[in-house]
């Protein structure tokens, strides 16, 4: 049984199919990449999995349990956390409070105050933001805000982490750091499903890649297979 599985997932905006009849699965411990040109429906698919959007048809299972169209907070408490394409930190809260929110409301709530703080500090340390924990989140650089989002998501205690373009807008050094972070997250036993445009990154960290185009899945396979797939190259270079 895969950790996450979707069958026939479909979402229309008006008459336009943003995600059409997509099947997918993510096995425990995998790092799966989701790629495709702009407007292919990648973020929409993430929004459907995380409950931000309601799908018109199809079913999504998490650990064998039907989680289709649950509310976002419920999905988070089942053990799926996410980050956002455009960073959504709590700008006026301190870095520590941002992560504390994740600890206090995530999957494993019911902490005492001290325990929760300890957890939050642990995750800040994990992403390397301990030094700035007292600063308001808005004062961080984009790369650090993205790290903060990851820490906040990890703090909710997920088994599956959805990363939506973690590396977009980062410089090459920062991309390398982010890749290293992804690897360390996987070492924690957390499964990762990531949307990414930075090809070197996705080829470097993913074990398997899924390609969406116009809302439909057009290819799936190892990075090697995807890199040499004729359909994928056509989609990216134009017909």
């Amino acid at each position: 049984m895969p950790l996450l599985e979707g069958k026939g997932v479909t979402k229309y905006f008006g008459g336009l199919a943003a995600v059409l009849n997509v099947d997918f699965y993510v096995e425990q411990g995998e790092v799966v990449g989701l790629i495709g040109p702009n407007g292919a429906g990648k973020t929409t698919l993430f929004n459907l999995i995380s409950g931000a959007l309601v799908s018109q048809s199809g079913t999504i299972w998490f650990k064998g349990e039907n989680i289709t169209n649950l509310k976002p907070h419920a999905i988070c408490r089942k053990g799926i956390a996410r980050t956002f394409q455009l960073v959504r930190v709590f700008p006026n809260m301190s870095v520590l409070e941002n992560v504390l929110m994740g600890v206090l409301f995530g999957k494993s709530d019911g902490h005492g105050r001290g325990q929760a703080l300890e957890q939050a500090e642990k995750w800040l340390d994990f992403v390397g933001l301990s030094a700035v924990k007292g600063l308001p989140a808005r004062s961080l650089t984009l790369a650090n805000q993205k790290r903060l989002e990851v820490a906040r998501a990890l703090a909710t205690g997920p088994e599956l982490l959805l990363l939506d373009e973690l590396m977009a807008g980062l410089n090459p050094t920062e991309v390398a750091q982010a890749m290293e972070l992804v690897n360390r997250i996987r070492e924690q036993g957390i499964t990762i499903f990531m949307v990414e445009h930075v090809m070197t990154a996705i080829m470097g960290v993913c074990g398997r890649i899924m390609v969406l185009h116009h809302g439909e899945k057009i290819a799936e396979g190892t990075p090697q297979e995807i890199a040499t797939s004729r359909t994928v190259i056509e989609v990216y270079l134009g017909e």
């Binding site: 509310k71 907070h73 956390a81 959504r88 409301f105 007292g134």
Partner: protein, 315 residues
Amino acid sequence: MNTRKNLRQIWLLGLTLIFLALLATLPLYAPTYTIILMTSILMYIVLTMSWALFSAPTGYISLAPAAFFGIGIYTSAILGTRLPLPAVILAGSLISFCLALLIGALTLRLRGIYFAMFTFGLVELIKNFWLWYEIQFTGTRGRFVIFVDNTTIYYVMLIILALLLLVTYLIRRSRFGLALRGIGECEEAAAHIGVHVNALKTATFAISAIFMGAAGAIMATRWTYVDPYVAFNPLYSFMSVLMAIFGGIGQPYGPILGAAIFAYLEEILITRFPYYYMLIFGIVLIVTVLYLPEGLIGLVANIRKRVAGGQDALA
């Protein structure tokens, strides 16, 4: 840093308790006029603080205080002769609470300015409907309310305020206080890290209505005669918002400060110079929005920072 924060908290708590104790002994030596004045001030503090309980962290501007306040007033007018005073006040808060739950559940989808419009429309709807109902079915516009002496009204209002302070404190230090701020800063992100946004918003909105209803129920007894125009006067909503913003909504004592200052100003100005009072009110509001985004307490904090100078920067 943590001990300093704790010290500050203990200091604030002590100060609050001393203030409440002083207020509690006031009727022993103060003249009746002072008691009446203080009751008005306490009423505005209750309205403003309970408004801030929900609206300050979440950023949803509610214009519904007048609705809940008016419901309290009419509960008192209708049940006052049939039930003992504590039961009347309890009933007023309970009905307000239930109505707020309903409104909260209905308006979950409304963001920003639409929420403000809705809550404002609600006050006017209740007012006009009730006006029609009274004239149609009771034949008169207004009602008489049972008489309660000034000292009792004062004490009841003080107890309501004490409870409100306690609830504000408990919510702020709980994880829900943090979550409410999270909703204000980014509702979507809050939902995705496990905050049951809708339930939390509705519950907090309803809790804030309890105190508005209670305040209305006891204030009605002072006015002795009420009609829908008096009870559901949208000015009570505006006042709550404006006093809170003027005082500053970043800290709970901001709304207290704003309400106390304006309630006092109202008392000395409104009978003799009502138009000037409201004119000043408007000017202060605009100046606050333009130049004091964090209100009076923000101004005070800025001045203190400037006075302390480099000292604070080092610490």
